[in-house]
C-alpha cells in the first residue's frame, strides 16, 4: 500500500506554486547573431511573490514585446523589420520532446516551416503549426505586415509549464509517480527573407575559409627578420 507520507508529498506538490519557469532555452543555444529586439525589464516588480492558492497565469513578458513602440526611422536609416511574438501556454506535451520540433524550424521561412511540420510525425508538430498560423494572422492584422508569407522564424523555443503528479503502482506494490507535463511554446516571426545562416558559428564556405587563413598568415610579424 502506498505510504501516507508519499501521498501527502504528491498532493502538496500539485497544490503548491511550481518552481519558476526554467531559464529559457536561449541559454542552451549555441552563439547566435544577436536579436534586434531590445531587452525588456522584469515582468513584475521584484519582491512580489505569487500566492500559492491562485492559478498560474503563465509567461507574461513575451506578449509585452508586441506592445513596444519604436520611434520613426530616419531617411538614412534602414527600415526596421516588423516582428510579432506569440506564445502558446500550458500545452499538454513534454518540453524535451518539443525541443526537437522547436529547434528544427529555427531560421526557416514560415512557408518552409509549415511545409516541413506537415511531415513530422509528432504531436508537437501540430501544436507548433497552429502557433505559427496564429502568429502569422496576428502579424498581418495588428502589426502592419503586408504579405503573410514574407515572415521567417527568428526565435523558437519551449519552456516547462505546469507539471502535475499522479500515482501508479509497480511490481510488489511499490509506488511510482507519473508526471503529467505541460509546456509553453514561444515563437517570434520577423518580416523579410530568412538569413543564409541562422547560427553564428556555422561552417564557412571553402573560399571564405581560405581567405581568412591567408589573412591570418599575412598578418604575422616575423621577428629577427631582415
Amino acid at each position: 500500500m502506498l505510504s501516507a507520507r508519499i501521498l501527502q508529498r504528491i498532493i502538496a506538490t500539485n497544490a503548491a506554486w511550481p518552481g519558476g519557469i526554467t531559464a529559457a532555452a536561449a541559454t542552451l543555444l549555441p552563439s547566435r547573431v544577436p536579436s534586434s529586439v531590445p531587452e525588456l525589464g522584469p515582468a513584475r516588480p521584484a519582491g512580489v511573490r505569487a500566492m500559492s492558492f491562485l492559478p498560474p497565469t503563465g509567461p507574461r513578458r513575451w506578449p509585452l514585446y508586441n506592445e513596444q513602440v519604436f520611434p520613426p526611422t530616419g531617411a538614412d536609416e534602414a527600415p526596421r523589420p516588423a516582428f510579432v511574438c506569440h506564445v502558446k501556454t500550458n500545452v499538454k506535451y513534454s518540453t524535451k520532446k518539443m525541443w526537437y520540433i522547436a529547434s528544427m524550424i529555427r531560421g526557416m521561412s514560415i512557408e518552409e516551416a509549415l511545409k516541413q511540420l506537415q511531415f513530422v510525425n509528432k504531436k508537437g508538430a501540430q501544436i507548433v503549426s497552429e502557433a505559427l498560423k496564429e502568429a502569422q494572422e496576428m502579424a498581418v492584422r495588428d502589426h502592419n505586415v503586408e504579405f503573410k508569407n514574407n515572415l521567417w522564424v527568428a526565435e523558437s523555443f519551449a519552456t516547462k509549464g505546469r507539471v502535475l503528479k499522479g500515482l501508479r503502482r509497480h511490481a510488489r506494490a511499490r509506488p511510482g509517480i507519473v508526471h503529467y507535463r505541460y509546456t509553453h511554446y514561444f515563437v517570434r516571426l520577423e518580416e523579410g527573407a530568412p538569413p543564409e545562416q541562422y547560427y553564428a558559428d556555422a561552417p564557412l564556405p571553402p573560399e571564405e575559409m581560405l581567405k581568412r587563413w591567408l589573412e591570418q598568415r599575412r598578418q604575422r610579424t616575423i621577428t629577427h627578420s631582415l
Binding site: 506592445e67 520613426p72 527600415p79 516582428f83 499522479g166 503529467y180
Partner: protein, 336 residues
Amino acid sequence: MTTVLKSAIVIGTVAKACRLKVPQQTRQILAAQLPASEQMRFKHWNPKFRVLRGKKIIKVELPNFNEDEEAKQLSPDEIRKKLKEKGMLPPRPWQERTMSIGCTGGVFEEYVPPEGDGKVSIVSTTGAKQRLTALEKKGKSMLSVRKIRSYDEEFDVGEFAEQAVEIYKAAHQALTARDKATLHANVTELAYPKMMQNVRHKTVRWQLLKSLEPPRVVHVRHTDILNKENVFAQVTVRLHTQQLLAIYDRFGRLMYGSEVVGKDVLEYVVFEKHLADEYGRWRIHSKVVPDWMPARDPVTRTWRKEPVPPPEEGEAEPEKGDQGAETGEKAAAAAS
C-alpha cells in the same frame, strides 16, 4: 514469401528495434497490398498485458488550462451548458453600479452641409451667398443659442468659432502626445475610443498649418436626456484648414500621410457641452461627413480580398464592393 511481405516484416522489425511507430499511412498501404492470408501482425499475440499495465495507473482528470481562451470562441448556449456542467451560476444580468452620463450617444438633428461646399470660390455668387447666410436666419439654431445663453451669458457665436479651433488643436496635440488627461478634457466619451483605437501602438505626427477660411458656426441644437433640466447643447463648426498628418506604425515605418506635404481639410466638427453641469466644457463630440465628400487618400498597402460567398437562391446578390479599400480606409489611422 513474397517480396512485399518480406519488406513489411523488415520494416516492422526495424521499427521495433528503433522504437519507432510505423506511420498510419505506411501501415495502411502495406495492409492493402498484402493478401488476407498473409496479414502483417501489428498487435501483440496476447493483448491482456497492455490492459493490465493500464490498470496500474490511477486515472487523473487533467485540467484544461486554456479553457478561458477557448471559451471566447463558444456561443452563449455552449457557455451556459459548460457552466451547468461545472455547477456554476451564470453571471449577474444586472449592474449594481451607478452610471454618470457625460455626453449624449450621438448627434441629434445632424447638419446637412450644402453640396459643393469648399469647392466654390468666395468671389463667385454662390460662394458669397453661402458666406452671407449667417446663423441669424436659422430659427431653431437661434433658439438653441438663446438656451445656451441662459446657462452661459457670455456665449458668442463668433468667439466660439475661434475657441473651437483651439479645442481642436489641443485635442489633436494631446492625441499625438498620448496625453489622456488633456484628451479627456477636450473630447467627449463618445469620440475618445474612436480616436484612441486607431493610434494604438502607432506614432502620430500632426500639425495644423493654417486656416484657409475663418471658422464658422453653422448649426446649433440642444436636447435633454432623462429630465427636462438635464440639457446638452451641440454646436457644429465648419473648419477649412490645411493640416499635416504622418502616421508611423509600431516599427517606425511610414504608414499614412507625409511630414512634408500638407492637405486641405474641410470638416464639420460637432462640439458638445453638458449645460446643466456647472463644470461642463465644450468638447469635440463627433464629425458630420456628407456623402458628397471625396474619399480620403488610400493607404499605401494591400490587403487580401475576402472571397464573397455565392448568393443563395431567392436572395439578392450582394454588392461586390471594393472590400479591400474599405478595410484599408478603416484601418487608416486618420486621427480626426
